[in-house]
Amino acid sequence: MKLTLYVARTTALHRLHPVAKVAGVLALFVAAFVSQSPLQSAPLAVLIVALLWAGSAWENVRRFRWFLALVFVMTSLVWTLFYNSAAPWFSWGPFHPGPDGVWFAFAMAFKVTTFFAAGLLFLSTTRIEEFADALRMLGVPAKLGFAMTLAFRLVPAFVDAAISVVQAQRCRGFDFNQGRWWERIGRYLPVIVPVFIGALRRADHMAMALEARGFQRHGRRTSYRVYAVRWADAAAVALAAALAVAWVWWARGGLLG
């Protein structure tokens, strides 16, 4: 079963130089992070949706649609409740919701969701090895770069193990769908034990395997993947930089003030 997010295609986005991809996703992260209002996030969201479409990453959006929707709804809800509104509809305990709170909550929800979507875009169009290569080219030591990508390499394995464990328990009459939603979540707790033990064992074995294949070795490394720098990459980096600068400027009131 395929568990990684990478979608093996050859779209223009896939073909970009990994450093350009990293620059691009960093710019999207910055823009998402600095956006102050839904008005500022909306064009960014449109851009990310367009890029997801251009990168044939739609299947991943489908896979994560409930997650993205949940993040959006929960963030809106929580911030609406906890925002200290200047003109609250009502006040009850720590809750002072009001119209400005709703506006702020939407801004936060957009911020978080575009953040996730940008990450999804990056992982859908970038191999984990390309990510490590990009980090190396940007001066990050190879070992550190590998460690940074390790999470993305291990998560699919853990998900895979978790699926097996859930199936094995269902086989023995365990009904995950019984009871109310919090009971159902509680039912998944026993899954953690074997997954965690498996994870530890696996991490241990992987460390040995890495070592046996020369990972701790000092000296020059080469790359199996060859990257040519093309005009499209330069353009992508320039656009990414422009996007980040524009959004920071906009956020600091440059566009309106």
Binding site: Q167, Q169, G173, D175, E211, Q216
Partner: protein, 568 residues
């Protein structure tokens, strides 16, 4: 001091105990590998085989600490503070847990990883990746995500990843456990080629087929070297092999019983020796002729036109499969890696709903049944027992199922006791499953389903990675269940298990069911055996040549004895 240049690796009086362990994993071991030599290390689980391999690339004491005594010499150099990295290019170790050795997003990147670390130029790297993949039969898999490969394909990939680095000494710790017969042949072919090219090899194997290719065999028992010599010397010592927990070759067992001076080279030679001693060939079929009981019981499980297509796979995993299983049958599900065996088992157990077709258990659609009801009808033992064990006590692990289906406490207790007894785990009821060995964990996995008393038990490669004794114990448990009337479906690649236990065989080939019939019929179909690359066990072949339908070496010996065959 003599510098042993002729040895690639040498252990001199080496003992090792893992940190926190109560006993020595290796005791006073003397072990040498000469350049260009192939040494096969055999022994039961826990005999110290993996420990020995880890000493050869410095994983011990570099990674796994403990008390190490004696001297380890690698490439004529006495090791003191050397690390794994110091020998990474010269010693290639493919460890037992091959899945944990894969961490790349595509097959070719996985193979290239080691070469990248060593700064191999790009052009050369491309050639070596291609050559390594071709050597293990994975050419054409370059772009595949390793996570989507079958178990056997993953195992070959792990070998290719080390092979590409062209190490002087290649150490393979049980490299064929999860492989189908074809895959085993391929890997053994790879090993043989490497051998003829002068590569030095240390291979840990349970099966004697690989051992027959070796220059030398080293037998380990409880951390000690108990025998070392050529295959002809070591493999003929049936008593010793049985004592250390290695399954002796059929022909060696025959030779000992017949008191022959030498073990026949192959089945043909054994036939001619037997004929000379008065056994008529093509005698009327005698002995334990098995007539399948398939017509006896009622249909318990039926799959009709089952088709499964995984979202990201290029071809269907199952195509229009029709199977009917009757009460009390013992069925073997065979097929190459990736042919759809596990997918079919998951459909039959209701874990996977097919895109097309239906699965009915006792006349009801299985997907409609609530999990509690399904669990009492069909039990599925996973390939990896670690995926299904999660309790911190053996007792609770077994009690989990009965509690889920809502049985009252006294009955839960009764069933747990019964399952513990059946699996020979009574003594370990209060232990943490984490501390059981693999054979015990496998029996615990079976016991935990057994407590639900399902009518059908599906076992996914229940003997993988177990030694001869553990395999025998698991199979004793399974056949005892079968005798109580349980329907058993077993996925396996092990020829002697099929011959000895299965009455009926289902053979999958490229997602389709290509054979469904009595085991003896399959053994007569050379075309199908060739397509599955299934090797009929020598004892069964021998029986067939002589006209006896026998299941294994024991039955063959019994038949010969009843015929009064004397030694020549």
């Amino acid at each position: 001091m003599r510098v042993p240049k002729q040895f690639v690796a040498e252990l001199r009086n080496v003992s090792f105990a893992y940190e926190g362990a109560r006993c020595w994993a290796l005791r006073e071991v003397e072990f040498q590998v000469g350049r260009g030599e192939m040494v096969v290390v055999m022994g039961a689980s826990g005999a110290g085989k993996s420990t020995l391999t880890k000493l050869l690339n410095r994983t011990i004491p570099g990674f796994q600490r403990g008390e190490l005594r004696g001297e380890v010499w690698l490439f004529g150099q006495k090791c003191e503070h050397e690390t794994v990295a110091d020998f990474a290019g010269r010693v290639g170790l493919v460890a037992q847990d091959f899945e944990a050795q894969l961490f790349s997003s595509a097959v070719e990147h996985e193979v290239a990883f080691g070469l990248e670390q060593f700064g191999v130029p790009w052009r050369e790297m491309v050639d070596r990746v291609r050559a390594a993949l071709a050597a293990v039969g994975l050419a054409g898999f370059e772009d595949r995500d390793p996570a989507t490969l079958s178990g056997g394909e993953k195992q070959r990939l792990a070998i290719a990843a080390v092979l590409a680095m062209e190490p002087e000494l290649l150490v393979l710790d049980e490299p064929t456990t999860d492989l189908d017969p074809a895959g085993k042949e391929e890997v053994l072919g790879v090993i043989n080629r490497l051998r003829t090219h002068g590569r030095t090899l240390v291979v840990v194997e349970h099966e004697t087929i690989a051992a027959e290719m070796a220059d030398r065999i080293v037998l380990l028992c409880q951390g000690r070297v108990v025998a070392a010599g050529t295959p002809a010397e070591v493999l003929r010592d049936v008593a010793l092999l049985e004592h250390v927990g290695v399954r002796p070759p059929d022909l060696a067992v025959l030779a000992r019983r017949m008191r022959w001076a030498a073990v026949p080279r192959d089945v043909e030679e054994a036939v001619s020796v037997l004929v000379r001693s008065g056994v008529p060939t093509r005698a009327a079929a005698a002995g334990a002729d098995r007539s399948p009981r398939s017509s006896v019981g009622e249909i318990v499980l039926a799959a009709r036109d089952v088709t499964v297509q995984y979202a990201d796979a290029p071809a269907p995993a199952l195509e229009q499969v029709n199977v009917e299983l009757r009460a009390g049958e013992f069925v073997a599900l065979l097929g190459q890696n990736g042919s759809g065996k596990t997918t079919l088992a998951k459909c039959l157990s209701g874990l996977l709903a097919p895109q097309a077709g239906t699965v009915h258990v006792k006349g009801q659609p299985i997907v409609d049944l609530p999990p509690q009801r399904r669990a009492t009808l069909v039990g599925y033992v996973f390939q990896n027992p670690d995926h299904q064990i999660f309790a911190d006590r053996v007792y609770d692990e077994i009690a989990f199922g009965p509690r889920q289906v809502g049985l009252p406490a006294p009955e839960v207790h009764e069933r747990v006791q019964e399952a513990l007894a059946a699996a020979a785990l009574i003594e370990r009821a209060d232990d943490d499953p984490f501390w059981l060995n693999k054979g015990e964990r496998q029996r615990l996995a079976v016991a935990s389903l057994l407590a639900l008393r399902p009518e059908v038990l599906l076992l996914d490669e229940p003997t993988t990675g177990l030694d001869a004794r553990e395999q025998r114990q698991v199979m004793d448990l399974v056949s005892a269940l079968h005798r109580t009337g349980m329907t058993v479906v077993m996925i396996t690649h092990t020829a002697w298990l099929v011959a000895e236990f299965a009455e009926r065989v289902l053979l999958l080939h490229r997602a389709r069911l290509v054979f469904d019939g009595p085991t003896t019929d399959l053994f007569a179909r050379d075309d199908l055996l060739e397509c599955a690359r299934f090797r009929v066990p020598p004892a069964v072949q021998l029986g067939r040549r002589l006209g006896f339908a026998v299941r294994g070496i024991q039955e063959l010996l019994d038949v010969l004895e009843s015929r009064g065959v004397e030694q020549p």
